[in-house]
Symmetry: C2
Amino acid sequence: MRNITRGELENASLSQLKEVCEEIRKEIFSTVSVCGGHLSSNLGIVELTVALHRVFDFPKDKIVFDVGHQCYPHKLLSGRADRFRSLRTEGGLSGFPKRAESGYDCYDTGHAGTSVSAALGIAKARDLQGESFEVIAMIGDGSFNNGLIFEALNSLRILNTRVLIVLNDNGMSISPTVGGTSRILSDAKHGSALPDEIRLFEQFGLTYMGVCNGNDMEDTLSALRESKEALKTQSVLLHVATKKGQGYPFCENAPCETHGISPGGACGQEYSTALGEELCALAEKDRRVVAVTAAMTDPLGLRGFFERFPDRAFDVGICEEHASVLCAALATQGLKPYYAIYSTFLQRAFDEVIHDVCGQNLPVTFCIDRAGITGADGETHQGVFDLSYLSLIPNLSIGIPKDIGEFRAMLRLSWNLDSPFAIRYPRAGAAGKVNDIEIGKFEVLHSTMSDIILLAAGERCIQIAQNVLNAAQKDGMDFTLVNARFLKPLDEELLASRTEKTVITLEDNIAVGGLGDAVTRFYRNSCKNVHVFGYRDAFIPHGNAADLSRKYGLDEERILNTVRGAYARR
Amino acid sequence: MRNITRGELENASLSQLKEVCEEIRKEIFSTVSVCGGHLSSNLGIVELTVALHRVFDFPKDKIVFDVGHQCYPHKLLSGRADRFRSLRTEGGLSGFPKRAESGYDCYDTGHAGTSVSAALGIAKARDLQGESFEVIAMIGDGSFNNGLIFEALNSLRILNTRVLIVLNDNGMSISPTVGGTSRILSDAKHGSALPDEIRLFEQFGLTYMGVCNGNDMEDTLSALRESKEALKTQSVLLHVATKKGQGYPFCENAPCETHGISPGGACGQEYSTALGEELCALAEKDRRVVAVTAAMTDPLGLRGFFERFPDRAFDVGICEEHASVLCAALATQGLKPYYAIYSTFLQRAFDEVIHDVCGQNLPVTFCIDRAGITGADGETHQGVFDLSYLSLIPNLSIGIPKDIGEFRAMLRLSWNLDSPFAIRYPRAGAAGKVNDIEIGKFEVLHSTMSDIILLAAGERCIQIAQNVLNAAQKDGMDFTLVNARFLKPLDEELLASRTEKTVITLEDNIAVGGLGDAVTRFYRNSCKNVHVFGYRDAFIPHGNAADLSRKYGLDEERILNTVRGAYARR
C-alpha cells in the first residue's frame, strides 16, 4: 500500500476517509494472510485509528497501544505502508509498536495493562518540561481488567496530569472478556448504566465520554473532537464500541479463531491439544483437578475442559497474578490446580509464583506454553527467560519434555506430586510416546564410549542435538546424547556417574541461569570442559524462530565444532 | 499473656471484651518494644479482631490477612498468647501468618494485595468440596490500591462464590494512602459519598456495608453480625474505620514512625539517608531527576526529596508494577527516574523491569533497599533473590556497594549512565568513603602473592571476608580480597588477569544465579577451583540476620576451611 500523508488525511472528505479505511482493511487482510499476525483486532480498529490520525497530530501527539497487537492501521498511516508487507519477518516491520522503528511509536508494548501508566509517565514528563502535546492510551476492554490499569487509574489524581484513554471495547480479550469490570462497561455500552455508576471514573479523576460507535467514521470523528476539547482541562476516558473483525464476516463471526493467524499453520501437533486431553482425563478420575487460565482458553487447548468441567474451569481474564494466587489458595484446600499460561506472560506472576505458590510449597502445576523462541511476535513474546527465573525459586520442580508424549507423561507425573511443578514446552512438535518417567531423572537417548556427552533440554534442542549427532557420525565422531528433561531436580546421580571429559549443554532459553549454568555448577571443580549453548544476553527481535535460534546461540555448526574440538584435543 | 479460649470470648460481657482488648494492646506494646515488629497497625485492629473471633468460628472459618503484619491480635486469640514473647525470634512466632505455625493461619502472606484472591480460592474450594464455613479477607486501605485486588474483584462474578472482605481503613499504607481509590473510600467514610458511588462495589458483585467504627466494640460486633447475615447470599465488603496506633497517643500521632519498630535501632548508618541526600543533590543540579516510590517514602529515605522537590517526587501507593512502568515512560521523554523499593517487593515488578525498562533500554535507576537477609520479618521479606532474577535481564547493570560511601558513588555514576541500573544494598552499614568508580570495575582491597582470591559482593560479605582474612592471617595464610561491586557488567578484565588457582565468592543472596554462578561461568574450563558461598536453595525463615546468614550459607568457619583446604592442596 502507498504511504498516506498527514496532509492527505486532513483534506480528505468523509467518503475519502472511508475509502482509506477500506484500503487499510484490504492491506491488513492480505498481509496477515501471508505473514501471519493479529487480524480481527486490527480490522476492528481501522476507522478509530484513521479518525485519531485525522484529529490528532502524530508524532507530536503520542499514542501508546496497550498490548500493541492492534497497531497495524497506525503503522499504515505513519509512513510504513510501503514496508508493511515485511510485517513480522526478520528485519521487517514488527507486529508491535517499536520506538526504534518509527518516531510515531512512542512506547514499546507487548504485555497487557501498561498503556495507562505509560501515557501518564509521558504526560507528566511533558508537563515537567513545559511542552505541549496530547497523550493517548489506546486500550482494549480485555486489558482493562488487568490490575496495572487500576494502579494507573489510582494514580491519576496523584500525578495531576492529563491523558486521553480510548477504551476500545469489543467485548473480547482473545477469549470473551469476563468479570465485573466488563459488566460495568457492558452496562454503559448498552445504555443500562445509571449515570452515577459512571461516576466511578470521575472519582478517579476521569471524565467519562461515550459510548461512540468506533466503526462509524462520523460518530468517531465527532467523539474524538469532543474528547480533545474536554482533555484541555481534565483526563478523559472515551468509551468506543467496535466490532472485532469488522468488515470480514467470517472474522466477525469467529473473533477468537481469527485473533491471531499463523502463516501456513504450525509445524507438527500442538502441545495445547495434549494439555486439554490430559487434563480432562485427570479431571475425570479426580475431582480435585481444576484448570485456570488468564483469558487464553482456546490457545492453551482448554476449550474442551471448560465445556466438560465448567465448575472446575476458571478464566479470570487478563489477570495473570490473580490467577496464580487463586491457584495457591485452591491448593491450600486440597485441590490440584493446573495453571496454563504462555511463558512470557508468567513473568507477570513472578512474585506470586515465589510468594504464594512456592513459598507455601503448594502442589500447583504451571503449564507453560510458547516456551523458547516463538519467533514472529518478537522481543516481548519470546519465552526465553523462564528456565532462568524459575530455577532460582526454592521448592519448584521444572520439567522440559522432549516431545508431546513426554509432556503427557509429565502431566500424569504432576498428579502425584505434592509440590509446585512447572512444565515448559513450545507450541508444537512431535507426537512421541508416553513412557513412565520419574521426577528428576534424565533419559539417555544415545550411548557411546566417546569422551563427549551432550545434554539437551526440550524438543528444539533434542532435534538440534540429533542433527549434530548425525553430522558428527558422518565425520566418524560420536557422543552420548541425554534428554535433560528436568532442570530441577537435576539428575545428579546420572551427572555424577558420567566420566566424559567434555560436556555440552543445549537449551532453548538464555544461557544465563538455566540448564548450562546448573550443569556447570554441578561440575564445578571437576576439571570437565563444559560448553553451554543457549541464547546470548539480549532481547531477541521478531523473525523466523529457527533462524533466530541459530543466530542467537543454538548454531548446529558451532556445536559440531565443539565436538570436533574435543576430538582434536584427545 | 495467657491463652484465651473461644469459650471465654463467647461468654464474655461487653466490658470483659474491652478488658481483653486492653490486655492484648499491652501485650503487643511490650512485646514489640523488645522484639521489634509492627506496632501501630496492630494496635488499631484490636477491637476488630476480638469482634471477629467472637462472631466467627475460627479455625473452621478462615481469615486471610493482607500483607499479614496486622495479625498479632489474631495470634494472641488463637492459642499463641503464651508464646507471643518469642515473636520474630528464631524458632519463635512469626510476625506474619504461617500455616505451619497454627491451624488458625490458613494462608501465608507478606506482600500486599493477595488476600482477596486467596479468600476467593479458599471459598471456591469450599463450594466445590461441599463444605460449609465462612472466608474472610482482612485488608487495609493501603493494600486496596494494589492492582491484584482489582483483578480479584473482577473475578467475583466469574468464581460465583461468597467471601467477606473486611476493609480496615486507617488512611495509611506506611505512608498515608494516596490516589483515587482512597478518595472513594474516604468519601464513604466521611459520609460524603453518594449512595450510587458505592454501586461500584455492587457492580463487582459485592454488597457494601459500613462504615463502622472499628475501635468501638459494640459498633463492630453489630456490623460483623450484619455482615455475616448478608454473607449468606452474597459477597460483602464491610468498610471499617480504625485508627492506626489506637490507644497509645504517641502512636496515634506518629503512625508512620511507629508502623515498624526495630529492637534497639539499626546498626550503623542507614543507606536510605544517603539515598535521600544524594538524590536531592542530583535533583538540585539536574531538573531531569525524579523520584518514585510505592508507598514507602520514609523507610526509603525520600522524605526530604518529597519536601524539596514535590513536583518531581511521586508516591503512587502500593503499586510496584505501575511505578516501574511510570519510570520507563518518564525516561522515554528524557527524564532520569530513580525508583526506590525494597528488594523483596521489586519481585512484584519483575515483568515491568524486563518488558518496560530493560526491553526499551531506558535509564531508570532502581535503588533496591533491604537486600540480602533482613532477618526478623522472615520468608516473605528476605531480599535474597534479587541478584539472581536481575542478572538474567539483558541491558541491566547491577551494582552492589560495599558501604554507604560506595553507594553514594554509584548513585553519582548512575547519573551519567544511559541505560538501566540496579543498585542493591542492605538497610544499614558503615559510612565509608566516596571514591570515583567506573561501571563494571572491581576493587582490590587486599593484594597478596597467595594462590587464593576471594571475591565478595556487598557490605555483609565484605565484612565476613575481612573476618576470614584476619583469621587466615593469624594462621599464617593469606589471600587476595576483591570487592566485586558489579555483578553486571562483570569485571572480565580483572577476572581474566588473575592467576590464582582457588577462587572463592561470597554473596548475600541465594547461591543459584548470582555472583558465584557468574564467576563460575567466566572461569568455565579454566581448571580453577571456584567455591561459591551464598544461601542454599530454600525459603529463609525469621530470626537474627547474622545467625541466619551463617546458618544458610555464609559461615565464616566454612569459608576459612576452604582457604585451609586450598593451602593443604599446594
